[in-house]
Amino acid sequence: MELDNLKDAWKGHTIKDAADSNDKILSMLQKKSQRPIARMKRNLLWELIAVIVLYSASIVYYVIADKGKYWGVALLLFVVGLLFVFYYFRKNKLLKEMECVACEVKSNLQRQVSTLEKYVRFYFIAGTILTPLSYFTAGLIVLYESPGIIMDTRFYSWFIGGGIVLTIIVYFLNIWYVNRLYGQHVKNLKGLLRQMDETTETISTS
């Protein structure tokens, strides 16, 4: 079968589909995109909302509690909350940059690979730092609320030891999790780019 002989048949054939009616297309436009990037954006928004609600409620509680006695805790939570907000905005910015569907296919794939790698790096570093940071912030809050503990050296050794163990666990857990979430995706994207470059390599080596 020769490809050139099939050009007319290919161009002549139409595909019957019930999805062509205006109503059907309008209903499609009402639906949300199920592409991985669109879903990542939606998940990120929900995470951001959850963090804002939880941190705002905690901050308000500590500002009001005991007529503002714990305002320092509220300030600490505010700073950590700000870091989380920065983390979400940065991730959102990377997600927005990740795709250009109207660009050439190759440049879109290159853009996806490089931005996704940046995203994964940021996700990994931030994830590894933010969890111990939250842990030690929680510890400071406990110290602030229970000044009697300050003299207890056993508390410090358990607290710091626990923090170190947590950091190590979070580090390895993040490596596994990030790889599970995005490892295969990055590998597939690179595979597609390799498919595009195959001929280039052949020409330059021949």
């Binding site: 595909i15 639906k31 569907v101 109207a102 050439e104 296919v105 995706h185 595009m196």
Partner: protein, 152 residues
């Protein structure tokens, strides 16, 4: 044209419908930014192919999908003789065995796009496209023979 992209990249009716919907959504979102720097058809193909190619979640599922004999695609035979229709069915089956990028190249070739326009859509330079096209033609020749004689 959008249906042809869906048929080339998806083998089950559900996947085809999902992909069609996804392409429509992407076109709708991208249209306000269309400034006419390229031909409308180039812009349309870019969006359709970018959506189809980079939807890796679906691709993983597609790999596991066995291409069934009656799967394709409601091809209208109104103005087409039976022989041509069978050839098209064979062609679709053979295309299913190609890589994602090769599928795009074959599709554009069959749509009679010039190498210049293919370069604008895919971002692969014309010399490379010619080399790749020759390889794909050879591959399709073998694949369609295999389908014809029930090999593979």
């Amino acid at each position: 044209m959008l249906h042809k992209v869906c048929n080339v990249y998806c083998h089950s009716a559900q996947d085809r419908q999902d992909m069609f919907q996804e392409i429509i959504i992407q076109l709708w979102k991208a249209y306000p930014r269309f400034r006419g720097d390229s031909k409308f058809s180039t812009w349309l193909y870019r969006i359709a192919l970018n959506t189809a190619i980079s939807d890796l979640r679906k691709q993983q599922r597609r790999v596991k999908t066995i291409y069934s004999e009656d799967a394709p695609m409601n091809i209208s035979a109104e103005e087409m003789d039976k022989e041509k229709e069978e050839q098209l069915q064979q062609l679709y089956k053979a295309i299913a065995d190609l890589g994602e990028i090769e599928k795009a190249i074959v599709m554009l070739y069959l749509e009679d796009k010039s190498y210049e326009e293919m370069e604008e859509i895919l971002g692969i330079n014309q010399n490379n496209l010619r080399v790749k096209m020759n390889r794909v033609k050879e591959k399709l020749r073998k694949l369609t023979k295999a389908v014809e004689y029930g090999v593979g």
